[in-house]
Amino acid sequence: MIRANTIMTENVVTVNEAASLKEAANLMLNKHVSTLMVAKDSKPIAILTENDIVRGFISKKAGKVKDVMSKNFLTINPETAYIFIIKKLKEEKIRLFPVIQNNKLVGIITETDIVDATRDFTRFHQIMQEAILAAFGLVTAFFLFFFSPLGQSLRNSLA
């Protein structure tokens, strides 16, 4: 069973809610991330995506992070199953999962993490598929040989 803590990104870039949108945008560009967590005393209170910043730029008066950040997000714990995350992604189009343990932010799962993990699983599934096929093929070959006249004569000569 794959858990959230194996696929999450542990270095979360956080921003203060009083910071300006320009500072937040610069932070995103410097750290190469697309999402910032807005945290207060290492407790996450909101998320800030690139889309929120774009929204802030078109409404002229919003200049602070707290004007555009979205407090509506779904937190998970490190033990949450991967299947649950995928289900939420597909059914409710949630793309961002902050990972919380004891009220503290320990990581974040973004769309990139999910894509990477899914690619790994796909490769794993393909290898498993080949392995199972090979095993069944060998078993079949053994059966065919063992019960064939040739196998019969070999068994007789050995006995």
């Binding site: 889309n51 774009v54 999910i114 699983f121 796909t122 199972i132």
Partner: protein, 162 residues
């Protein structure tokens, strides 16, 4: 076999080349697409993502009243609407972008597909095929077992097996 047209988003956001950056940003705000496609005669010529806007508006201080043609990534790599998921995945692997315009045979824009949709769809397909294959294999081995083990009894009842 699943094709790109079954998983694509058929309603992409589009702008003309002479639209202002501000207008494009207005279109993208509050939308889950994350990008807007620049079209010319229905053909995609470029793409602007959320991060392009953040970069250009906050960092480079481009005037929001200038045209989208200034900041768009062009040419945009397109995927054919009837291409197989595996082929699309190959394109995505080599290019490394997130979002791709989907075009038909004439090169007209028909949709938008993102990396995650393709990867998830391939994973689902693989899982389905693996389960199907395992079921077939188990049935086959059970059949084999019965035929080989019960052969000596069966030949009493079916003389043609001798």
């Amino acid at each position: 076999m699943a094709r790109i047209s079954t998983i694509m988003n058929a309603n992409p956001l589009t702008v003309k080349k002479d639209t202002t950056i501000f207008e494009a940003a207005k279109l993208m705000a509050n939308k889950p697409h994350g990008c807007v496609i620049v079209i010319e005669n229905k053909k995609p010529v470029g793409i602007i993502t959320d991060s392009d806007l953040v970069k250009n508006l906050a960092y480079k201080k481009i005037n929001p009243e200038s045209k989208v043609a200034q900041i768009m990534s062009s040419p945009a790599t397109s995927i054919m609407h009837n291409s197989k998921l595996e082929n699309a995945n190959k394109i995505i692997d080599t290019k490394g972008f997130r979002k791709y315009p989907v075009v038909d045979k004439e090169g007209n824009l028909v949709g938008l597909v993102n990396e995650n949709d393709v990867v998830q769809a391939i994973n689902d397909n693989i899982r389905f095929h693996r389960n199907l294959q395992n079921t077939v294999l188990i049935l086959f081995v059970v059949f084999e077992f019965f035929v080989f083990i019960l052969y000596r009894y069966l030949i009493n009842y079916f003389p043609f097996l001798r």
